[in-house]
Symmetry: C2
Subunit: 346 residues, 2 copies
DNA sequence: ATGAAAGCGCTAACAA
DNA sequence: TTGTTAGCGCTTTCAT
């Protein structure tokens, strides 16, 4: 009893069983227009009996859409990107398409490899989250791309492409100003990374506000994981002039910081306020609940996908102006969610 | 200045530019064996100049692997499945393959559609998380599948396929016994769903233990979201005989329950202990930290993918016994993580 | 309403 | 070492 590979039947076999030409079968699987009712039924029956499924590869070779969109993201695990992916998948579903994913772990070379993979697979379009903003090889590749592309969450410096981002600069300004309103004067900006577009924008926003308030600009960039975050905070609070607020630049950093503060027995919002970038499920269940800048994550994914599909539709259309249907860059607003850790009473 | 669609050049154009035949180009892109050094260089230069990328569709049509694996999962957002997906993506990456994802939202029909999509796209293999265990249409489809398949997290009743699951029954037994060891006698089993394989196995495990201990079997199945969970708990605790422990059957239910207990001012581990199924990032940061049954999530994904790729490799091989290289079912062990909410002192 | 035949880009005999 | 050619499964003129 040896289970063997049972290949999918071809259009030819369906045609033979139904005693028609392959053209007729093709007509049937493409809507059944101009086919006799009885012929139609016969063909459909043959399709069902044989378990026939048309080969996408053959169709692609004929120049049809592949009904796939590529998604090149840093991680599929990260709550931010998996939420984006969810929204993208939903939009793709509406367009009868599948999502081809690959992750880059924020490595620029892997981004290139990933995009090339999408080209090779003739994806109808791609959504890419670039790793670093300055990358010549990436710009080159993007400019030669044979399909539409949308840059998500981070634009590529020096390359004019459609992009969908949140207003990181404004978000950081919002956060910093809010902490200042609470009377904080020594705001520590905590991050483990500075090269990513989003993070550098947030740093810019923070800097602008503290500088114009004439407060010290305290940036700590060593907070890559729990251990390093704890060490950094320990250091900061052992000095003679500890911070009175912490602004963490992303999701995981916020959690590390919260956890470290707990362990170091430093409570919030006094002596130190905490305000994080990115909301997370349990933020309001902690003690105190964490105030955050909330990004419209799903909206970022959804908007990216919607724009991409519009581009795909227009790509071969007769309208020479389809590219102008969208702003080059879509910037989505962020929100301050006031909870307790910043000092708000809610 | 009208940006137009610039199609990828074909092997023919490369051949012409390099002044060789298409076969030679084919040889070059497939390793360059049996090609003159100077010819090789010339062809490679042409490839680079033209930005040539071989068409996967044409290769697929010739019967080659597509270097894609299908992933049909309930949600891409759920921490459990996104972690699985991450591990699968990593394994796929090692095999120079991409992951084609589609989500089913646990709807049986969508599972079928999703798998068919993978067939149409000639994925080399598929990893599927079935929606419900009893589904004739699914068994039919699976038995006709022209590629290897691995069932992840949930088997399909009545269909003998390779599957990779965690020991849900044992996990629930472990949890329930542990609560009993803490002296709990009225253990409320809380869930919002009973039809999924994993959940019904957990219910079975719970039942077996409470029954053999002669304790009441208290199962509440209305906990679908925070509101319904809160309502259910309110009801349970307003009676004359409230539970002294809660065993939540999944991730989100645990969080709803924790949150509801907070709001209802019922503290843990007294008067009620809490033990959840599935670990989550912040479980140890809550007050009290939540004890859980921890599943080897990444391992589930990784194992599924590794088995799938072995199957893919053996699928067309000459070894007629390749199917027996693996147990039909791989069951991975779960662990009890003792924190404070169950009554442990840690 | 139906079918014959060409051709999409590639690989693999088979020739040279 | 290199090229010629057939054909993978499908859609699409163009006939009938």
């Amino acid at each position: 009893m040896n289970k063997r590979y049972k290949p999918i039947p071809t259009i030819r076999e369906v045609a033979e069983m139904a005693e028609v030409g392959t053209t007729t079968v093709s007509r049937v699987i493409n809507g059944g227009r101009n086919v006799n009712r009885s012929t139609l039924a016969r063909v459909q029956k043959a399709i069902k009996t044989l378990g026939y499924v048309p080969s996408q590869a053959a169709r692609t070779l004929k120049g049809e859409r592949t009904k796939t969109v590529g998604l090149v993201i840093p991680s599929i695990n990260d709550p931010f990107f998996s939420s984006c992916a969810k929204a993208i998948d939903a939009v793709a579903h509406d367009h009868d398409s599948l999502v081809l994913v690959t992750t880059t772990n924020d490595d620029p070379d892997t981004v290139i490899t990933g995009i090339n993979f999408m080209v090779r697979h003739s994806a109808d379009g791609v959504i890419v989250v670039p790793a670093k903003t300055e990358n010549g090889a990436l710009s080159d590749l993007l400019s030669r791309l044979p399909m539409p592309i949308v840059l998500m969450d981070r634009p590529v410096k020096g390359f004019e492409a459609i992009s969908v981002v949140a207003s990181n600069f404004e978000g950081a300004r919002l956060a910093t100003k809010h902490l200042i309103e609470h009377g904080c004067k020594r705001i520590l900006c905590l991050t483990g990374e500075t090269m990513l577009y989003t993070l550098s924008e947030r740093i810019r926003g923070y800097q602008q506000v503290v500088k114009s308030a004439k407060y010290p600009c305290m940036i700590e960039t060593s907070a890559k994981n729990y251990e390093t975050t704890k060490r950094a905070l320990k250091r900061a609070f052992s000095g003679s002039n500890p911070p009175d607020a912490i602004f963490t630049l992303k999701n995981s950093t916020t959690i590390y910081a919260y956890q470290a503060l707990q362990r170091l027995n430093i409570s919030m919002p006094r002596p130190v306020a905490l305000l994080g970038y990115d909301d997370f499920d349990l933020a309001e269940m902690l003690s105190p609940p964490i105030s955050v800048i909330q990004q419209p994550i799903e909206k970022i994914g959804q908007t990216s996908a919607e724009i991409l599909f519009k581009q795909i539709q227009g790509w071969n259309s007769s309208d020479p102006h389809f590219l102008r249907q969208h702003a080059k860059q879509t910037v989505l607003d962020v929100k301050l969610i006031r909870r307790r850790s910043c000092g708000c009473q809610v």
